[in-house]
């Protein structure tokens, strides 16, 4: 890496002692690039074995990469922590302005240790770190308001990121998210609860550092930049994300029979037309946004105009961000085809700072559990949940936050826990403890959920293997496992460069190597493959250390009951693929 590059600066912040300092960690970045690779090493260093995820012992690590601030689309921040939701690896990625702000503030990573004694937020402006009082913000109902107040209190508009939690994080709900720039999220695995446990309401980061470029100088920098930029604005894939955004997938997945519907009792939703990307764009799309340094702008914001119930000519307009996963989790999964109900539920979840996917799956399970009589209306405090009944779901989400009785307290701990109390494990759709994403496409997707280090569809995009390979030909479980592992290992490289996965086609191994040379990293594409494999192994080492085991992975029977686009899921096939991954990872040295 370049000698003058501030990337190697790791900012350590100790909330308990109200101290901060910077360490040069060239060792970490030269070996592991940045992002996920660097964060997992710091997690090994910082998190004691067996630490309670909601204790001051659990660190929060944010990391960016060498291409951030240099090239388009290297726009993600990787957060790592021990997950209060699964008890092992906690990792989530968000865009917004966070990555560029951290990089131009002069850091490659930020480590937060300890805990506040009273609610506070941390403001990092370049080399200055301020510990601010947030007692006034704690308990505030609406997380949008929190953002507005912090915006007015802090300098550097346009050059900053405000990462904050809502009530869900304060209440330590293990699937609470951290929101940045109103609409982007460190969504999965409960970073919001880790913030909450530290009485940390927000982290503000701003900067305007210049960053050095090496290999080939300014001319080569501009040449590589122009190539990446042109591909980004001209490629059909990127146009897709710009036009309709991720919701473009609603109709194709529904046509295929892979759109989980009514807690996956079905995989086709008769109301999909009303909540598709096309329908939402036509009737509600009000604005498109981009992460910092991404010309694509995949973020789609609906403008919802609602009349007041009592007062004539009194309207309020809310701007609500929607994506495919939200349409799945809070739309089809709940049997909801009313777009306004869907948008209101998305907005409510945003206001509280919950992970939308986990919340949707929890509500879907609760609806079916009531339907089957496992949970009485009485136990639910008089609330009857029914498919598509958005007023009931809005109320249920409020109760998940307030937890007025045992039932809602159980829902607030996730679907796995709720089913362990009330029964209905067969239709409690979590994998490795994490609620499922919106792909009932076949064994590739499920294998990815089960063995992905984050139990995320983004670990290995198994849904893509289902659609591109398995719909055309059969492959054995070993071959499927190899495909999944290969993709997950390469994605370790992308998430260490912090390149958005949507741009994975643009950042081919050759382009990546050229961009890295500008940033002062001399890596061949073989080097990158090797580094990806090592990072994957290190993540699994952490998981095993914290008690993860392939033997305890559970596949809810529901996934075999509802036919997928590639036929009925064979649990023995899936198990064989899991076994292959297990032995492969053991061979890799975990």
């Amino acid at each position: 890496m370049l000698k003058a590059d501030p990337l190697a600066n790791v900012l350590y912040i100790d909330l308990s002692k109200k101290r901060h300092w910077v360490e040069r960690r060239e060792d970490l970045f030269e070996k592991n690039i940045g992002g996920a690779g660097v964060a997992v090493e710091i997690l090994h260093e910082e998190c004691p074995q067996g630490a309670d995820p909601l204790s001051p012992e659990n660190p929060i690590i944010f990391a960016v990469g060498p291409l951030t601030g240099l090239f388009p689309l290297a726009s993600k921040t990787v957060a790592m922590f021990k997950s209060p939701h699964t008890g092992n690896l906690g990792e989530s990625h968000a865009g917004g302005r966070s990555a560029v702000a951290i990089r131009t503030a002069g850091y490659g990573a930020i480590v937060i240790r300890g805990a506040n004694d009273i609610p506070g937020y941390v403001a990092i402006h370049g080399s200055e770190v301020h510990f601010r009082d947030a007692r006034t913000l704690w308990g505030m109902r609406n997380s949008f308001t929190v953002g507005r107040i912090i915006r007015e209190n802090e300098p550097a508009a346009g050059l900053r990121s405000i990462m904050r939690i809502g009530r869900a994080g304060e209440k330590l709900i293990p699937y609470a998210c951290v929101t940045t720039e109103s609409y982007r999220h460190f969504g999965r695995l409960g970073l919001g609860a880790v913030f909450g446990s530290k009485k940390l309401k927000a982290v503000v980061v701003s900067g305007k550092h210049s960053l050095p470029v090496g290999g080939g100088g300014a001319a080569e920098y501009r040449r590589v930049y122009d190539q990446i930029y042109q591909e980004a604005v001209a490629s059909p894939v990127m146009k897709k994300y710009h036009d309709l955004g991720t919701p473009e997938n609603v109709l194709p997945l529904n046509a295929l029979g892979g759109l989980p519907t009514r807690n996956l009792k079905d995989a086709r939703f008769e109301g999909a037309d009303r909540i598709s990307g096309e329908a939402l764009a036509e009737h509600y799309l009000g604005r498109r946004l981009a992460c910092s340094h991404c010309p694509v702008g995949c973020i789609h914001i609906a403008a919802l105009r609602e009349p007041d119930e009592n007062e004539p000519y009194f309207y309020k307009t809310s701007m609500i961000s929607y994506d495919y996963e939200l349409i799945y989790a809070l739309g089809s999964m709940l049997g909801g085809s009313d777009p306004e109900g869907l948008l209101k539920l998305i907005d409510r979840i945003e206001v509280y700072g919950l992970d939308a996917m986990s919340t949707g799956v929890v509500l879907a399970w609760a609806t079916e559990a009531q339907e089957r009589g496992l949970v009485s209306e009485d136990a639910a405090g008089g609330l009857r949940l029914a498919w598509g009944d958005y007023p009931a779901y809005l109320e249920a989400v409020r109760r998940i936050i307030e937890q007025p009785n045992e039932f809602y307290a159980a829902l607030a701990r996730g679907v796995e826990h709720a089913a362990s109390v009330y029964g209905g494990e067969d239709f409690a759709l979590a994998f490795g403890g994490n609620e499922m994403p919106g792909y009932h496409t076949g064994p590739g997707a499920y294998l990815g959920f089960l063995v992905g280090a984050r139990h995320s569809h983004l670990d290995s995009a198994g849904y893509s293997v289902d659609q591109k390979v398995l719909t055309k030909k059969q492959i054995g479980p070993d071959e499927l496992a190899r495909e999944i592992l290969k993709e997950e290992r390469w994605r370790q490289v992308l998430s260490s460069l912090v390149v958005c996965f949507f741009a994975r086609g643009i950042y081919s191994p050759d382009t990546t190597a050229a961009a890295l040379r500008v940033a002062g990293f001399d890596c061949t594409s073989e080097d990158l493959q090797r580094i990806g494999a090592v990072i994957h192994t290190r993540k699994y080492a952490f998981k095993f250390r914290e008690g993860f085991s392939f033997d305890t992975l559970r596949v809810p029977e529901r996934v075999s009951e509802t036919p997928s686009p590639v036929g009925t899921l064979d649990s023995r096939y899936l198990q064989a693929a899991v076994d292959y991954v297990c032995s492969d990872i053991s061979r890799a040295g975990c």
Partner: protein, 178 residues
């Protein structure tokens, strides 16, 4: 020619223009950008684009006590960095905040209207307007903007940056991606 934010409602806040402005000098990051994109009270409300609008009678030049800012033919100003004492009056006089500040040299940074940023606006927010009075000589970017000697040298070596980009080409570039 002068740079103009023609439709900020089209802005998605990607800040590609800001990075382009710095990259013109061969730099990454945002330290030397002369254009600013920021939200209007949160992303939900959209963006403003802060950039020099090349006033015909620029207040920044009027308040300069040492004559370091000279009115440019066609609007806007050019900075004579040797004269500048870094008092910051120009920054205070610009009510749209388009006089940016170089923290290292403690001197102003002002858009030179080279149009490089507009080439990287994917959605037609920025465009370059050519006035009859515009000087179309190459090297406009280099000549106008106040730079430290080191930066000036870098700029001279930069193949694309120091040429005023042909306005037609730019308009097409912006249109194609819009």
């Amino acid at each position: 020619m002068r740079l103009s934010a023609v439709d900020t409602e089209r802005c998605i806040g990607c800040q590609s223009c800001m990075f382009a402005c710095a990259r013109r000098l061969g730099e990454a990051g945002l330290a030397s950008t002369c254009i600013g994109v920021r939200s209007i009270g949160g992303m939900e409300r959209g963006f403003k684009v802060v950039v020099c609008r090349a006033c015909d009678d620029p207040p920044c030049a009027r308040v300069c006590p040492v004559g370091a800012l000279q009115v440019r033919k066609g609007g806007g100003v050019r900075l004579d960095e040797a004269r500048c004492i870094g008092c910051g009056h120009c920054r205070d006089a610009c009510i749209i905040g388009a006089v940016f500040w170089d923290d290292e040299t403690a001197k102003p940074m002002i858009c030179v209207h080279c149009g490089y940023c507009a080439k990287f606006c994917p959605h037609g927010v920025l465009s370059v307007e050519t006035a009859e009075t515009t000087e179309s000589a190459p090297g406009i970017g280099m000549a106008v903007r106040g730079e430290s000697m080191e930066r000036q040298e870098r700029l001279e070596r930069a193949p694309q940056a120091n040429n005023a980009v042909d306005a037609t080409e730019k308009a097409e570039g912006a249109g194609a991606n819009a």
